[in-house]
Assembly symmetry: C2
Homo-oligomer: 333 residues x 2
Amino acid sequence: MNENAKSENYNSSQNQTDNSSEYRVGIDIGGTTATVAIVSTKGHILGQATTHTRDYKTPEDFTTALAGLIVDLKKDLPEGTRLIGVGIGAPCANSSTGEIEAATELPWPSPIPLRRLMEERTGLPVAIANDANAAAAGEMLFGNARGMRNFIVITLGTGVGAGIVCDGHLLNGVRGFAGELGHVTINRHSKRLCNCGRYGCLQNYCSASGVVTTAKQLLSENPDAESILRDATELTSKSIYDAAVKGDKLAIETFRITGEWLGFACAQYAAFTDPDAFIIFGGVSRAGRLIFEPMEKAFEENTLHLYKNRVKFLPAGLPGADAAVLGAAALIG
Amino acid sequence: MNENAKSENYNSSQNQTDNSSEYRVGIDIGGTTATVAIVSTKGHILGQATTHTRDYKTPEDFTTALAGLIVDLKKDLPEGTRLIGVGIGAPCANSSTGEIEAATELPWPSPIPLRRLMEERTGLPVAIANDANAAAAGEMLFGNARGMRNFIVITLGTGVGAGIVCDGHLLNGVRGFAGELGHVTINRHSKRLCNCGRYGCLQNYCSASGVVTTAKQLLSENPDAESILRDATELTSKSIYDAAVKGDKLAIETFRITGEWLGFACAQYAAFTDPDAFIIFGGVSRAGRLIFEPMEKAFEENTLHLYKNRVKFLPAGLPGADAAVLGAAALIG
């Protein structure tokens, strides 16, 4: 059944301090790969296995394979180990219905009743959420938001997502679509068309492709400005970052503008849930101070006095490679 | 002690169906008057008394007087009646700290430890909130949001406030300043200076004075347009409404623009908490369809597809005169 799956068990030195016999299962489902991990109550990964999403003809087969991986991984755990639930992070996952809706990355028609299928196959409680909400749960349980009851995680990747925690609760909303902050219109007069069909969403400025658009715009508006980006065969947010690190002024300006838009947006977002912190996550956020400095400056310049100098901006606290499965595991309360 | 207070007890016919012996106290504190009411579990007012806020030299004297009014009102209730708590709606009330902060309307220096003072004087649990949050609590318990777990109340008055309920919780935030939606920048290029020191807040477009500013702008931009507003000695949102009802095109256009800004704002706000409904409350909202029609149109035109045709716009469900004390009473869970 799991011939296309590989599994790996390891013990980190940290596990030695982690004596609980209760474990969570965290599953990260992507368009190519699905990863299953057994996670301790302190956020250590005890075992991990992967399989290829597209190798399965139906969601039923796929979830049967995932359940098989859990059983395989559990074999290597000590006697008396108890799994308390399965958390799944997946694109377009609706926490309220337990279904995946219109996920173009996955090879099966929507809606996919993922929660029900996994509950039937494992006999365990199952929670599902989109990537940004799983990231928020992970930061709260294992990461930089430990002990915080009010924060907003913003993920800057192919798109821009958000997970909002207010008064200790991860917000879902009536249809499970709370926290779509990447699609707040931050520039009503923008000519940047979003994949949602609207113009001027935050995502058009702060996603990986938003960064590239900003760089291209700067190159075209400043034909005389020297920049190593001018000679690049293909611009990506990574290549623009590499140029910025080398001191390329136009690349640095690209991230300054990106951070400024994000800071302006967060200045507005603070008025909704009065957060302690924004936690900035995902590929584009790796630009570090190139994006954090202009972001924090724009936040302080644009926010209401009630929030001024009172909101922290933090990078994600979960290790990049494991963040997705740890966040998924954290969905089990 | 309460010589400047008058009290009044009445029974509505509705009370006959309301047999619980548990009652809440709702108190609405304004700059001029404070109103104390005894409220049944079904939202009927059993007795009501008022006093003049400015007649008291200290918050200690003021809260002693309020506690006296509660005792007076309780005398007239049936034997066996139990008061389960006191909810207070007041300007700049911080739900988290229980204090009133920087309320320019009140005659005492801030912060005022209102919750502690009232708890000491009544021996009852006390909850305090600002007017918009109290309105949200009232709509959820007694009004148009009964049975709803996700909605946003927006109050259009001297200012613009909001109370956000998500997943059944009234959002507070880390410092109790969640829901300051009147101070979200909706027009970054605006020349309208807000009392918060920033430009282009929702409040500058949709408060009573925002409506007047829009009308004045239309009058000045259209010098040839006929309008009875041109002859008015003083413009108010009420006089503009009266003109609109008489068919004055410029007055109607004023409310259309107001509704359009509000609908655009709500289109963005939906992305935070994925609400079932917006409930629009306060003086300006009395313009009814003059403001609701353009608001709903702008919402549908500007919101993300996830929320399109799925969010209701409702007027407040609580009777105007009693809304404040009913909302305050509803703060007691």
